[in-house]
Symmetry: C2
């Protein structure tokens, strides 16, 4: 894994007059003082410098033009003439507005050679969110001038000053969006913008007040939470107004003490992150005098490093810490990076993190193994997961052991692929000491060749192959155990229920299915990146709204835990079947769920994360449920979660409830999901003297009793924190809540999964 780039912030850049004296030999260009400093930083193992694009001379000129001169509005409507002196000042300001050029002495960088290793800072003193309309306007003009200059110099990224004023954040955001969208463009399309966000909130950072660390009682931390929420809300407004522009990112400033609450930090996990600002003053001295970060900042940093931000350090030469010298900060950051659990895991062969490298946050269309024949390389990837296959072997072994010792068992592998499961059946038979016959059914003609190869070489004739679709063919005898691996990330999304309906024809009446059941789970998530990527792919295929398989990284869970959607059990008894043994309709495989999630922190719902948990046999299972997978099937690689995108982000305030409606639908030819969300806010009838009584809707819960706990996990893991209020049938809880938002309905248009018999 590539190392985190670290930049040194230069607060006093050298004056750029270094090339005033031309070299006698024109082919030997004399390096400028800034180039010297860059060279020095590179020698010190920094990746470059970070500095202001302009200097105080420009600030003084702008201030005199725009703050001390009457604005174009002033005096405009009164007849009394302005003094000649003021008029002349106004004229100079207007001339600047007409055509904006820096003087060479007003900028810190003048050459392409200098700009190469530089992160540029736009002027901190620009007031894009000033309460004064004319100051905002002239700040915007000045920003455009700086950005045009940054584009000329080909700076890769410009850091914009933090927003300061919630009341005018829309003005700030609108100005930034204009830099991206106005025509003619201000910004070259190679330049990225990033907003510096003080994690402790704009007001907190301005006041540089201290935060009581660890305090969790709501009264004690309330003002802090408000500050911290406000700064996130400001960033959210900017990102929204800029339409999730992919050239816009956030840079987190850790100059001030971190908010004490982890959920308040986690939300940054789902935002596009570019830099971390870490001034020397944010460090404390350890007992040997070396600069280290406070515990909470350490933990935050070790986690956030997985998004590969650059780090910008400053004040390293101020001598704030007595040991280690000016490069100690950088060395400590490298140490934190190396010991980040994420970095350690991703460098450990066989770990999920290492396996997933390159797949983080990458949207993939789910497989349709029923409709498409898989490639050998796809099976190869499946078979690389040792955990899934040992779980299957264990399940088959237990199922065999539960049969009488002298029994003979018919095992049928439905959908044998390249034979991974078949081999595990043979091992389980061997260890169990039971007699058994194995049939392997496969519909993929190419994989069937591999199966024949294995039958003749590895399996020594112990396996009988049957070629064809499990819903159509009939093996020579009925099975005691039907083994299949047809599960998708959401359990049923690769049509396991429909396939096993067909395979049940050749299962004995008292036969068992491995898996015996699977359950789908959902939770609302926030992710700027997934939303943006799904939106782009939506606009390619108009109206096609399907879930994606994706390994989550820049994703934040908005509720305490996922909730159960629905379950499928196999085998299905008492089915109404036709003369071929197949169900007359697929109605029994439709499902619907109505879940209600408590949302503790304000956030944006960008979509729903889907997971599954399956019971293979007894207490052997498979799970990608985030809170249970490590108990049920640790280190299993085979399934990434499913992501159901929303077309429009839905804003949810803190303490909101999000109701999720999802349907698994079917007709004669297809299976598909549709989904819809509604947001509610708790209210009470006696609140704040409204002009009318609140139109809160009594919330009558009519779901059934809570599901029995999973056989694979102890009850405490099921603690229903944040869960939809389950009530015994007949009872109903009544609480007031008011609807505050909703999404569109999402349906897949033409892109359903074909049952395709």
């Amino acid at each position: 894994m590539s190392r985190t780039p670290i930049y040194l912030h230069l607060s006093d850049p050298p004056t750029s007059s270094g090339d005033a004296q031309p070299s006698l030999n024109p082919s030997v260009r004399k390096r400028s003082p800034l180039e010297d400093q860059i060279e020095e930083a590179l020698q010190d193992s920094y990746n470059g410098l970070c500095l202001n694009i302009t200097n105080d001379e420009w600030r003084r000129r702008w201030t005199s033009l725009c703050l001390t001169t009457p604005s174009p509005a002033e005096g405009g409507s009164v007849l009394m003439p302005l003094s000649d002196e003021l008029k002349e000042q106004q004229r100079v300001a207007e001339l600047w507005r007409v055509s904006d050029a820096f003087k060479k002495s007003e900028v810190n960088i003048t050459k392409l050679e200098e700009a190469e290793n530089i992160v540029g800072l736009a002027s901190e003193w620009l007031e894009l969110d000033s309460p004064d309309e004319w100051v905002r306007q002239d700040s915007e003009l000045a920003l455009r001038q700086e950005l045009a200059y940054a584009s000329y110099l080909n700076l890769a990224t410009v850091v914009l000053p933090p927003p300061r004023n919630r009341q005018h954040i829309t003005d700030y955001a609108r100005a930034i969006n204009g830099c991206f969208t106005n025509s003619p463009p201000v910004l070259s399309s190679y330049v990225y913008l990033t907003i510096r966000i003080p994690l402790s909130g704009a007001r907190k950072a301005n006041r540089s007040g201290s935060v009581t660390p660890g305090a969790s009682s709501s009264t004690a931390t309330a003002p802090t939470e408000t500050d911290v929420n406000e700064i996130w809300e400001m960033w959210d407004t900017i990102r929204t107004i800029c339409s999730y522009n992919q050239r816009l990112s956030v840079s987190l400033d850790l100059s001030y003490p971190l908010p004490p609450s982890k959920p308040l930090l986690d939300r940054w996990n789902s935002e596009p992150l570019r830099y971390i600002f870490l001034p020397a003053s944010a460090f404390v001295a350890n007992n040997r005098g070396y600069p280290v970060l406070p515990k909470a900042t350490q933990a935050f940093f070790r986690d956030i490093i997985k998004h590969r931000p650059g780090v910008i350090v400053s004040g390293t030469d101020k001598g704030l810490h007595k040991t280690g010298g000016h490069t100690a900060y950088q060395q400590y950051i490298r140490y934190l990076e190396k010991t980040s659990p994420y970095v350690v895991a991703s460098e450990t062969p066989g770990s999920v993190e290492s396996f997933a490298t390159g797949y983080w946050d990458f949207l993939q269309a789910p497989l349709q193994p029923l409709m498409d024949n898989l490639q050998s390389s796809t099976y190869e990837v499946f078979e690389r997961d040792p955990v899934k296959y040992s779980k299957y072997e264990e399940a088959i072994y237990q199922a065999l052991c539960d049969r009488p010792e002298d029994s003979s068992t018919i095992i049928c592998v439905a959908g044998a692929g390249r034979g991974g499961l078949v081999s595990r059946c043979l091992s389980a038979i061997a260890s169990s000491g039971r007699r058994a016959t194995v049939y392997a059914i496969e519909k993929n003609p190419s994989a069937y060749v591999t199966l024949q190869e294995k039958r003749d070489t590895e399996w020594e004739g112990a396996v009988q192959l049957v070629f064809g679709d499990m819903r159509l063919i009939t093996p020579p005898e009925k099975a005691d155990i039907l083994v299949s691996e047809l599960l998708g990330s959401f359990g049923d999304n690769e049509l396991s229920p429909e396939c096993l309906d067909g395979a049940s024809r050749f299962l004995k009446d008292d036969g068992i299915s491995i898996p015996s059941s699977y359950t789908a789970y959902l939770e609302p998530v926030s992710s700027s990146r997934l939303f943006r990527d799904a939106s782009n792919s939506l606009s390619d295929v108009k109206g096609a709204e399907t879930p994606y398989v994706v390994m989550f990284q820049a994703v934040n869970e908005l509720s305490a835990e996922p909730q159960e959607c629905w379950e499928f059990q196999h085998p299905r008894h008492n089915a109404i079947i036709d003369q071929n043994g197949l169900p007359l309709t697929n109605s029994h495989n439709t499902r619907s769920a109505h879940l209600s999630f408590q949302i503790p922190q304000a956030g944006i719902v960008h979509g729903l994360a889907g997971y599954f948990e399956a019971v293979l046999y007894g207490d052997v299972g498979l799970s990608i449920h985030p809170d249970r997978k490590n108990d049920v099937s640790p280190n299993m690689l085979s399934w990434f979660p499913l992501f159901f995108p929303l077309k429009e982000p839905v804003y949810v305030p803190a303490n909101a409830e999000l109701d999720v409606h999802i349907w698994r639908l079917t007709d004669k030819r297809k299976v598909w999901y549709e989904w819809f969300v509604e947001a509610f806010y708790p209210t009470s009838a006696s609140s704040t003297d409204p002009p009318h009584s609140p139109s809160g809707v009594a919330h009558m819960s009519d779901t059934n009793a809570p599901p029995p706990p999973s056989p694979m996990v102890d009850a405490p893991a099921l603690a229903p924190e944040g869960r939809f209020e389950d009530t015994r049938e007949g009872e109903a809880t009544v609480e007031m809540r008011v609807k505050i938002g909703q999404s569109s309905l999402h349906n897949p248009g033409g892109r359903s999964s074909w049952i395709g018999l």
Copy 2:
């Protein structure tokens, strides 16, 4: 105006066995009993019949198939077999699910000839929102069967049963959407669906409880408001989930007493309305025994009739009212229609309503008279408005009278068009008795021909013409009075400020401009139709988001009154100008506004309505502000409001605040608007024991003092109910509110107004 169609609801349709006996002569088809009844209804002056598509026989079969038979889910997971009898019942139900056909005896309509004059009702007993998933599913299948049959018969509209269960309204809505969108289609593309909505709420209608009329104290009416809000919320969810499908409408059922509060009724004004259900039982007897509607229902009906709904009456033969017979209901409805203020106005020549016929809710791109040269027919339409020109004449007259009696006045008409204003100048000069010279400037070369014609014939040489753009040409002498008619629906949206900047060059230092100022107003509105039409036009021109000119009808104001955005005053003094007398930049014509609206009732923000009010001179003005236009310039026709559409509807609960941000922006070449809205909900820190303190944001108002009242209107009309909390500078009100939603930023992409010099 065409008459409202009235249909008679037939509760007991004749059995459709009328054509069992074939006629001896095949070319003389015998009419069915239903055809006889249709004929009778047409003779009674009804427009047709309304009846159930199916009858009780079908209901009994469906009930036995789907309610008394175990569902496919029951017994599915237990090994104990079902009895053979139950299995056979299940098989019959499954066979129905596989392929659905009515028996002839189960339907009320069998022939195309019968269907022609019929409004079909889908079965009222279908439970698309049942708490039982399997009942919902089978109800959906049955609905599809009825709709497929309705499509076969080519019924124009099918009325769907009212939703009953808020908890499962999403299931109801999803099923309806499936009828529109699933492939293969259920519904022919000529069939429209309409949802029957009991205006008093689903529970109220079910209970048939009575409402205390006139009660306005919030405690007394609270349950009623909740019911009424809930039924609207249910309709909103249906409309949203069906993506504002234009084949979906609402039909209002007035069977039960109306809600007492007008705002609760007004919201239906912005929904697509198809029918009004008016059973005989909703009528009361007047003192002569004739059936009439209660006062509140009368008023509602007389208003809602402007949307041209059909009316469905029922129970007219029950003898509920002793005088007038069974056609008295119909005659009374015709009477209400004829006396509806809207119908009366639209049949009065010269009224706004008559002028606007054909333009209601029709989106037009605003004129760009600066960029485009207008057609003669466009001027013709302008000149048909007598009010605007008399206001101008009055203003010019007053301005002349305010000058010394012996003065000589230079009047310059900037943008003379075909000369309408020039003629009014001459009349004003004549009545004032002052001496004056008139210059008329026009840039449209074609209109300039008309001006020459008028100069030589009508004006007898009293007017001097100058050809060219008012920002470029120079008339022979400077003017005392500059008269222009460059205003758009939002005041400045046709670039009056930019044009008058140019024309000010030839205005004397103490000269005056008519108009002397104009102010733009905004308010949030709801309108399914405008939203749908604007969305369609958005998808044609991707990313182009511009306001439209539109005469509102199916539009509901969400707040108490519009608020002021900004003002322009003329002439502008102390401007910084170049050697040609033009401003160096257009910065002074940028504006921004941040307004906050109280939203008393839950609703959907689909866009913003824009209006203007102008002061021409003294107390003479022009206004399209909805609450002031009748005082300032009654019956003026020239301007329809402006509509700023939102890309995504924003849901606002009752008592919410909607913050609107709008900017008038400019660069060297263009002028455009951008807009954005945020929704907030009032909260208090001590509410309902939240897990964290609410992240309410202190709302610091920093707007300036309220604007001085308009010189044209008395102060009471300005009562700031529902207005953004204005505070004197320095003071700040602090209240807690939590953000609950937002729109995207709307900007026009390439479709700006070009200044185009």
